[in-house]
Amino acid sequence: MTAVTKNYSAKDYKSDIKPVWCPGCGDYSVLSSMTKALAELQIPPENCAVVSGIGCSSRLPAYTNVYGYHGVHGRALAAAAGLKLARPDITVIATGGDGDGLSIGGNHFLHACRRNVDMTYVLMDNQVYGMTKGQASPTTAPDWCGSKLTPQGSGVTAIQPLHLALSCGANFVARGFSGDPNHVAQLIAEAIQHPGFSFVQVLSPCVTFRSEQRGWKDTVERGKLAAATSSDEAFAILAKDNGMQTGVLYAGDRKPFNPSQPAVKDLDAVERKFVA
């Protein structure tokens, strides 16, 4: 792509479509942070794509003014990887919720981390399935009894998304809080710039089904997540993490996965092998 001279501001990345989100939903801020990050990096809107699954959070692409793909539930990372591998010139951001990404989408998360395609995954974690009106997600505490499906609590230990990401080989791992939009913007910008698969968990309250998350603004420990120099150190840090510390945990140097190469043959040469 040729150099761009136009100067983009955050609003150049926002569409005119009114979000379906509830007033006060954390996802509004995440949307702002993402557009800020893109503005900071001055990525031409047409050279960026946001790919999502299904959920409240997964509605985000339509509210941006970049290319968007609102796919099926849980498969954002697969679609995003296909897009990036086919079009290495495009900045690809996958996004969605904790249910989408870690419940039905868990396998793709696991393999996206190890495959290390050069893209960024922004996971809006509200520890609930918002869209389907409030069931426990993989990040929900086992004793949360607010869901009609698990009125006694899920009884299942919550996933630690950062730990899982590290264990599977993600190359950049960070956590932010939607209440700190500038910080989240900075994390997203760093994640985009970092080669390989970058994972940003954003604590993003669901004010409707987990209204107690309004209190996160008081419990979040801003910037407290120490930056590890090795994944071993990162694990050690996570051993003491309470899930509310934000910051960049880990930035690794694994080579991104990109098998595409220029053509070395034409069709004729390929077909010749069939001659009996």
Binding site: G68, R87, V275
Partner: protein
């Protein structure tokens, strides 16, 4: 009288090397200018169990096995009885076997075939490094009258890496084999091959599908292995790379279809290949491709179902799933190759159609076509390639991704196009792509997605329509070959039967079909399913001639030309 087709089975236990021998025999026939075919059958053992190479050599292109075997060459009898049902023989057949391996099993004796003993083991031992399969190769070549020369060349090529000693030993063993069979008073006189200066091709249906894909312009493939589709992907891996394309191995089929859709959203023609169980996992995302109007091609190489079923055997029973396996009304394309060689054209056409019509196309191949290797004429080059209607920067003003147009096709902006940014959506949407649950938007977009398929001009490619007559066969896929042969045989007896082999399985084109039915009073539908999926599908959508009969059977036994001929006998 010289015959135009000979059929041979080479069978033996694991390690006997019958597949290698069979491959060389087929290649030698090709070098000599013949057409032919080789299928494989093997027992349940993962590797090293009993196996049979099923070889047909012919003066004309053939795409399926014949009714009976002229020769069964059994290196040993371990597990070979398992193949009995697949190896029909009669009094004109010969069974070549090694007396040292024990008696001919009674079910084979009962065929009435002549038994010709050859001490494979002994002959092999007489040559340093000699192997029984090479003895068998020599015997087979001699008895069906194939020249030994090309075989020697092929052996040298195959054993290049192993060095001259190994090459010589194999050549000598073949020669010794041929000599050992000199005394057998059973021969096939194969008519001379047709003259041609264009060399034939040696290709499997799965390779052909891969080639069709790249001819059509596919440059992204996501892969998850599954029998019997893996070879489509394995052929594509190096060749796509050579052509500058990308193949990625996915963690599962859901990932592979979504990867393909993501890549196609990026503007690159994309494909994946699988079999029934994998297609089942893909249907949700195929619906997404249809709703979001993102082109994608899925090759389904069918095997015996339901569930894990019979992974190594053929059946046509994914038809229902391919057409109807999606939730909601989700119109899309289903096409089926009509022969091994046609896997090239049909897959290429599928890519072209999917790209042009911005929808999903499922190519229904099957194990019989996919895993058989055929000697064919080079498939012709055709102009069908991926040519997607894309939006360009000058359309940015008021760009509507899902605009309602006359033919239902609307320009699709690919990332990188300035000003046309939009969000592609599997939620029902308005013309712009914004989610909508308004009845009118739903109706309009449903109409759009259906009509673009119905309004397209598929030309003559919707079916192979051949011949004429009041009696017709309507069939599809790998059932086409035995039908074609049955019709040819009847034609030789002066009896006319029309062939309609459908390539475009969905959408159905009632007018074209009605035209093909003109003058047809009796129709035989031939398919390899248990429930008659093809028949019920047709009956549900089109008007069939007054008299209809169905010849159907599930796998794994193929329907053979003679059965079709018999079925037609009462009508012609």
């Amino acid at each position: 009288m010289a015959t135009h087709s000979v059929q041979i089975a080479l069978a033996g236990s694991g390690g006997a090397g019958v597949m290698t021998a069979g491959q060389i025999l087929l290649d030698a026939a090709a070098k000599a200018g013949y057409y032919g075919l080789m299928g494989r059958s093997s027992g349940p053992q993962i590797r090293g169990g009993e196996a049979a190479a099923l070889i047909r050599i012919s003066t004309k292109p053939v795409s399926s096995l014949d009714d009976r075997y002229d020769m069964l060459l059994a290196i040993d009898w371990q597990g070979v009885s398992r193949f009995k049902a697949e190896l029909p023989m009669d009094a004109n057949s010969v069974i070549v076997c090694d007396p040292a391996e024990g008696d001919v099993p009674v079910e084979f004796v009962d065929t009435g075939a002549k038994v010709a003993p050859i001490p494979f083991g002994e002959v092999a031992k007489s040559i340093v490094g000699g192997r029984v399969n090479m003895v068998g190769l020599g015997v087979a070549a001699l008895l069906v009258g194939l020249p030994l020369d090309p075989i020697m060349g092929l052996i040298d090529a195959a054993l290049k890496k192993k060095g001259p000693d190994a090459q010589k030993s194999s050549r000598d063993t073949v020669t010794a084999g041929a000599e050992s069979a000199a005394g057998i008073d059973w021969r096939v006189e194969l008519a001379p091959p047709p003259k041609s200066d264009v060399p034939h091709w040696n290709i499997s249906g799965n390779e052909a599908a891969g080639l069709g894909a790249v001819r059509g312009g596919v440059r992204f493939v996501a892969a998850y292995p599954i029998t019997p589709a893996t070879e489509v992907l394995e052929w594509l891996a190096p060749n796509l790379a050579d052509l500058g394309g990308t193949l990625v191995q996915a963690e599962d089929e859901i990932a592979s279809i979504n990867m393909a859709i993501g890549a196609s959203y990026g503007g690159v023609p994309s494909l994946t290949a699988t079999s029934g169980p994998g297609l089942a996992l893909m249907t949700e995302a195929i619906g997404l491709a249809i709703a979001s109007e993102t082109p994608v091609v899925i090759v389904d190489v069918m095997r015996g179902g339901p569930s894990t079923g019979i992974p190594t055997k053929s059946e046509q029973s994914d038809l229902n799933q391919a057409i109807y396996g999606l939730h909601g009304d989700a119109p899309h394309l289903v096409v089926a190759p009509t022969s091994i060689g046609d896997c090239v054209f049909t897959t290429q056409w599928a890519v072209h159609l999917a790209e042009h019509l911005q929808t999903a196309a499922i190519v229904l191949s099957d194990q019989m076509m996919g895993q058989s290797r055929a000697i064919i004429d080079r498939p012709a080059d055709v102009a069908f390639i991926a040519r997607r209607l894309v939006a360009t920067a000058d359309m940015a003003e008021g760009y509507k991704r899902y605009a309602l147009t006359a033919n239902g096709i609307s320009p699709m902006a690919v990332p990188g196009t300035p000003g046309c940014m939009y969000t592609s959506d599997g939620l029902e949407h308005n013309q712009r792509g914004t989610p909508s649950s308004v009845a009118e938007d739903h109706q309009n977009q449903m109409d759009k997605r259906l009509n673009k398929l119905l309004k397209h001009d598929y030309g003559n490619h919707w079916a192979d329509v051949e011949g004429d007559g009041e009696v017709a066969i309507l069939t599809w896929g790998s059932m086409t070959a035995p039908c074609r042969e049955a019709i040819d045989r009847l034609a030789a007896k002066g009896k006319k039967v029309k062939l309609i082999s459908m390539r475009l399985m969905s959408p159905l084109l009632p007018e074209k079909i009605a035209e093909a039915f003109k003058g047809v009073k009796k129709l035989l539908i031939v398919e390899q399913t248990h429930s008659g999926q093809f028949y019920h599908y047709l009956k549900g959508h089109i008007e069939l001639p007054a008299t209809v009969e169905v010849l159907k059977r599930p796998g794994p036994l193929p329907i053979r030309p003679a059965e079709v001929e018999t079925k037609l006998a009462a009508w012609v």
